[in-house]
Structures are given as structure tokens and as C-alpha cells.
């Protein structure tokens, strides 16, 4: 098993879950590595982190990969579970959620927004494969316009969170998130590690949006090819750093919003109020 014996894997991952059950050529593995790399560079141990996942490719493929404690929530609800867990856990424990786009921006968007509203100390990593790929490849709420999927056979035309100048990042910023970044790992992996580190260090709600290619369903339907290099190239052409966007740019990468450690954190607020009420009977 020489191939798998890197320090990162031995330190943070359950080797029984390797190789991953993700399709060969899937971009999820690169994203996953970025997150683990950030743990390593921050000097975090498995004991410092609770690993939460959800449903879909991102949830299913990354659940139980992490050597430490981990949970998988029902579809879209990991943010509500994490908020409850945040109340129960000591503040030094980090909660990192590894979820997909349907989970975060579809079924779970309300819970996500409310987690941002209260600035709960949770780091959400959204592995965005541009739709519902584990159910065969239906469009999601970040699927680019015109893209053909199994449920948009004429091309994507229904407005979504990444069309007509809208961006899910604006919604989350408006909701009170204190750190927001977007990275396409195949284009700016090193920057992505830095952003995940900042996200974890922010004592508040952080989200790193990491779109990644799906070779099996997205690429096959839209590009007519399962050859990874085709979809990787398609992705790279549509990615540009923030401020250097081209007309065809879909994903502007970099730090979208950094207000790290500027708002009081959720569990601190709740326990602080509880402590004061218990002592004095009032706030």
C-alpha cells in the first residue's frame, strides 16, 4: 500500500476508507486533500476536530474518512445539528462540515443562513459538483446556465443562485457569515489551503465554496466525454481569480469576505447570557 502511505493519510484518515468510493477522475479527492492539508498546516490533531458530513457525493464519500469523531446528518440538516453540537462542545473543538452543493444551497440553505446569522463557529466546506450527481446527474442551484443535465435536457434555464449576476456568497455575506471564500482546487489549490486555514481560524461561521468536476455524470451529459482532462479543461477555462474575471468566468476565486473574529460567536453569546442570567437573574 505504498501509494497511500503519505503522512497526511496516516495522521488524519481511516485507511479502511481508502481508496475512496468516489468515481475515478472525480475532483472531490483534491478538495478533500486541501482540507486535510489545512489541518496539518494548522497543527490540528484529530482530537481537535469533529468531522460532519451529509448526503450526496460529498457527504457519502467523505463520511468516516476522518480518523476522529464524525457524524453524517440527514440531507441539508448538518448545519442545524452542528449548531446544537456547538452549544454542547467546548469552544476549542473545531466543527468542520464536508458537504455538497445540493445539501448546502438547496435543501439546507435555510439552516445554512441561520447558522451564518448567529455566527456559529462552524467551517463549512461545500464540495460543489454542480448538481445532484449521486442520483444520476440532475441540475442544482449552482449549475451554470445552458448546461445540459438529466433534468435540464434543453440546457439549464431556470434562474439559480449563480445566474443573472447573483451569487450565493452575497446571500451568505448578507446573512452574517464572517469568512467566505471560493476556490477551484485544480486552478488554485495552494490558495484554497490558505483559505481553509483562515476559515478554521475564524471563530465564527466560515464557508469555503469549492466547485469541482464530476466526470461521470456532469461531464458525460454536458461535454459528452468521461475523459477527465476534458472536464478539467472546461473548468479551468471558466475559473479566474477575483478581480481578473473574463467574460466567460463562472467561478471567481479567492477570499470573498473576511470579517474573521469581528462578530461575537454563537455559543459564546448563548453561554455568556446563560452564565449572567444564572448569576444575576437578568442580562
Amino acid at each position: 500500500m505504498e501509494y497511500y502511505s503519505s503522512n497526511l493519510i496516516e495522521e488524519y484518515l481511516r485507511t479502511r476508507k481508502i481508496p475512496s468510493t468516489a468515481c475515478s477522475g472525480c475532483g472531490l479527492g483534491m478538495n478533500h486533500k486541501v482540507v486535510i492539508q489545512a489541518f496539518k498546516e494548522l497543527g490540528l490533531k484529530t482530537a481537535d476536530i469533529i468531522w460532519g458530513t451529509s448526503i450526496g457525493c460529498a457527504g457519502r464519500q467523505t463520511f468516516a474518512t476522518f480518523k476522529g469523531d464524525g457524524f453524517a446528518g440527514t440531507h441539508g440538516r448538518a448545519y442545524a445539528i452542528a449548531r446544537g453540537l456547538r452549544i454542547a462542545l467546548p469552544p476549542e473543538k473545531k466543527i468542520v462540515l464536508s458537504v455538497g452543493d445540493g445539501d448546502a444551497f438547496g435543501i439546507g440553505l435555510m439552516h445554512l443562513i441561520h447558522s451564518a446569522r448567529v455566527n456559529a463557529d462552524i467551517t463549512v466546506i461545500v464540495h460543489d459538483n454542480l448538481g445532484y450527481q449521486s442520483t444520476g446527474g440532475q441540475f442544482g442551484f449552482t449549475t451554470p446556465m445552458g448546461v445540459k443535465t438529466d433534468s435540464s435536457p434543453y440546457g439549464m434555464f431556470e434562474p439559480n443562485l449563480m445566474s443573472e449576476g447573483m451569487d450565493v456568497m452575497h446571500i451568505l455575506k448578507g446573512a452574517g457569515a464572517t469568512f467566505l471564500a471560493r476556490h477551484v482546487v485544480l486552478a488554485d489549490g495552494a490558495m484554497a489551503v490558505e483559505s481553509v486555514k483562515k476559515a478554521i481560524l475564524n471563530r465564527g461561521f466560515s464557508l469555503v465554496h469549492m466547485p469541482h468536476p464530476c466526470v461521470t455524470n456532469f461531464a458525460m451529459k454536458h461535454l459528452g466525454s468521461r475523459v477527465p482532462v476534458e472536464i478539467f479543461r472546461w473548468f479551468k477555462e471558466r475559473t479566474a481569480p477575483l478581480g481578473q474575471e473574463k467574460p466567460n468566468t463562472i467561478w471567481a476565486t479567492g477570499i470573498w469576505h473576511d470579517a474573521s473574529n469581528t462578530r461575537p460567536e454563537f455559543s459564546e453569546v448563548m453561554w455568556g447570557a446563560t452564565e449572567k442570567i444564572r448569576r444575576t437573574g437578568a442580562l
Binding site: K17, T46, A64, F71, I81, A82, G84, I87, A88, W271
Partner: protein
């Protein structure tokens, strides 16, 4: 012991706190709103946290999170919120996460009548989530005082059985004002017949035994034991693998840890005038049982051989009370007849089973006495409009 003239909601909040609950997440809904209000007032005083969720689905997920972190948690709602628990309820059952859920019934379907009592969730509390392959534990008190006791009992059972336990009340119990005595110490709790079980922690990771054993503590996050908890098939290692054989073991535990340990809660029932094998057994639960008990007493004084069986432990359904061939009458706060179906299933073949349904209000003594009389005389039940239906 403290004594109050207060609502059931108030009593339930105090009960949860005595049982060790330090986390409550809720969403305002009549008639359980005052419970959330009481919790928002009381929990910070006892080092607990009250959260108002964005919806009921989030409320129970917040409880899951707190329970995963080692806290005793509770949430409360009415029918329209209870259906939003379906998602987290399945998770809590599958991951065996102890917590207490209170459902205060009003008149359905949908929003229906908010400020009136109903019993439309008899089956809904048995099947609160999708998929089957689990057993549910439901307790149905008939007064504010008993609601308090049953919430404490629900916390006890949820810890020992490692599962969410539902207390099924109705609007009259949670909104009604009654004389309530609340224990203040553990000794007083014991004197009042209440049981307490602390939250314990299982080091894992092999915490999914295919056993019906009690007292296996739940998984906890943050202890760095490699504890895993997911909505997929758990195995001995905690990994998710889609294997029918493994899932069968999992389902076996979810079903039989309850069925094989029924002695824990099967004593929760009340029988009146049942010692002489009455000709007619009137079966009820919740607030209508209070009228039933009065009416049965009056019927006895009029020479009718009638008995009252009040169910407190609703699910798993206590079939053992229905082994005798007799006439049975189900009195329920609904017009469609739910409890009566279960009685029909449980009674010996060719038993005579009847249904008296009223919703949004309680039956009157006169209604009940007339019905008893007709059933005993083998006369057809008169249809008053459509609320009285021969079953």
C-alpha cells in the same frame, strides 16, 4: 415539593429540568408555545440553553446536535410541527440518540383548529418517520400533573433504551391550568414514583451491537474516540455499508430493544371497575379518559357492568389488555377512529368493538352513558350528525 396552580406547559418545563434536560429547541406553535416560553425563562437559570429554531425540522436537529455533544435535550410541538420532525426523528431513531419529544394534539388535519384538543396523531407517533424497521415508545398522560411525571419518565426511558421517546398530550393538558405538585429533590422524585437516569458516555467505536440490551450509552462527539454516527447502516465499526445483512442486525436492535424490554414501561396504564370482567370495556387515553372514568363510575351506579381501561403507554400497543372476549368501546378525540383500529386488531376474534369520536371538545357524560347503554343492549349506535359512528 412545590405546589402550583399552573398550565401543563409550565409543569412539563419543570419536569424536563428535574430530569436533567439542559437544552431545549423549539418553534412557537399553539398549544405548545408556553412550554418553549417557560424553557426560555427557566433554562438559563439552571445553566441550560434555549434555542428558537428556524422551523421544527431544525429544532429537532438542534436537539440531535446537543445530544451528540452529551446533553439531555427536548423539543415540543403540535401536529403541524410534528410532521416536520419526521426527518430528524428517523436520524435520532437510527443513531439511537436519546431525547424527549412532546406532541400536544390539536384538531387536524393541517392547521385545523389550534386552540382545541384533538387526538389525530395516534398512528403518527407510532410512525413518526419513514422507512419502518423501528419500534416507537409513546406515553400519553391525561393531566398536567401526569404530563410532568411522564416527561420525567420519558427522559428515563430514552436514556435506557437509547432512543427518542414521545409524550403525546393534547391541548387541554398543555394549555389547561391545574393543581400541580413538583418534586424538588431526588428523594421527592422517588417518593412520587419518578425515575431518573443520567446521561452516560460510550467510548465506542463498536457501539452498534445487534442486541436488545438496555443501558448502552449513546455515541458522543468530542471525546476523540473515533465515534461515528450516520444516517446509513451502522456496522460494528461504525462505517456505512449497504449490506442487507448488516442492516437487518441494525433493524433487529431498533425493534427488539423496545419489544423485549416492555416491562420497563408496560405498567403505565390505569384500570377502573375492571376486576369483575365487565361486559363493556371503555378504552381511552389523554383527557377524554377523565370524562370516561366519571361516566363509567356513574354507569356502575346505574347498574351497567362497565369498566374503564386508560392507556398511558400507547406504543408499543399493549395487546395484553385485550385478551378477553368482551364488548369494547374506544373513545377518542377524532372523527376517523384510530385507537379503535388497534383495539380491533388486538381483541379476540368476533369481539364487539365500537367507536365514539368527538373532536375539538370532550365527550359529555350523557353522550357516554347513552352509548354504554345502547352497546350493552345491543342496540345500534345512534348517529348524531356524523360524530358517532358504529364501527
Amino acid at each position: 415539593m412545590k405546589r402550583f396552580l399552573e398550565t401543563g406547559n409550565f409543569a412539563i418545563a419543570e419536569a424536563a429540568i428535574i430530569a436533567g434536560c439542559r437544552f431545549f429547541a423549539g418553534y412557537p406553535i399553539t398549544p405548545a408555545t408556553e412550554l418553549a416560553e417557560s424553557m426560555s425563562l427557566r433554562l438559563p437559570q439552571v445553566d441550560g440553553v434555549y434555542l428558537q429554531a428556524e422551523d421544527e425540522c431544525a429544532a429537532m436537529h438542534l436537539c440531535i446536535g446537543a445530544a451528540l455533544g452529551g446533553m439531555k435535550a427536548m423539543t415540543a410541538t403540535s401536529g403541524p410541527g410534528f410532521i416536520l420532525y419526521a426527518d430528524p426523528f428517523g436520524w435520532a431513531l437510527g443513531c439511537e440518540m436519546p431525547m424527549v419529544v412532546l406532541n400536544s394534539g390539536r384538531v387536524g388535519p393541517v392547521s385545523g383548529i389550534t386552540g382545541a384538543p384533538g387526538q389525530g396523531e395516534f398512528y403518527n407517533t407510532r410512525y413518526p418517520t419513514q422507512g419502518g424497521n423501528y419500534e416507537s415508545v409513546v406515553l400519553a398522560p391525561n393531566s398536567a400533573q401526569e404530563a410532568m411525571a411522564m416527561v420525567i419518565e420519558a427522559f428515563y426511558l430514552s436514556e435506557r433504551l437509547r432512543m427518542p421517546v414521545t409524550v403525546l398530550a393534547d391541548q387541554l393538558i398543555t394549555d389547561g391550568w391545574e393543581d400541580i405538585s413538583i418534586p424538588e429533590t431526588e428523594e421527592e422524585m422517588k417518593e412520587m414514583g419518578m425515575r431518573f437516569w443520567p446521561r452516560k458516555f460510550h467510548p465506542g467505536p463498536d457501539f452498534y451491537p445487534a442486541t436488545d440490551a438496555l443501558d448502552i450509552p449513546p455515541v458522543q462527539m468530542g471525546k476523540n474516540t473515533g465515534g461515528l454516527c450516520s444516517d446509513w447502516t451502522p456496522t460494528e465499526q461504525g462505517y456505512d455499508i449497504e449490506e442487507v445483512e448488516d442492516h437487518h442486525k441494525h433493524a433487529y436492535r431498533l425493534i427488539y430493544k423496545v419489544r423485549n424490554n416492555r416491562e420497563l414501561f408496560a405498567h403505565h396504564y390505569e384500570k377502573k371497575y375492571m376486576d369483575d370482567d365487565p361486559d363493556l370495556v371503555v378504552v381511552s387515553y389523554g383527557t377524554p379518559s377523565r370524562v370516561v372514568n366519571t361516566a363509567v363510575g356513574r354507569a356502575r351506579s346505574q347498574g351497567m357492568k362497565v369498566g374503564s381501561l386508560r392507556l398511558i403507554n400507547l406504543w408499543p400497543f399493549p395487546d395484553e389488555h385485550f385478551t378477553r372476549k368482551a364488548k369494547y368501546l374506544a373513545v377518542e378525540l377524532n372523527w376517523d377512529g384510530q385507537l379503535v383500529r388497534e383495539i380491533q386488531r388486538a381483541v379476540p376474534k368476533d369481539s364487539d368493538v365500537h367507536f365514539l369520536g368527538i373532536c375539538g371538545d370532550l365527550p359529555t357524560n350523557q353522550d357516554l352513558l347513552e352509548t354504554f347503554d345502547k352497546i350493552l343492549k345491543n342496540q345500534p349506535l345512534q348517529r348524531k350528525g356524523w360524530e358517532m359512528e358504529a364501527w
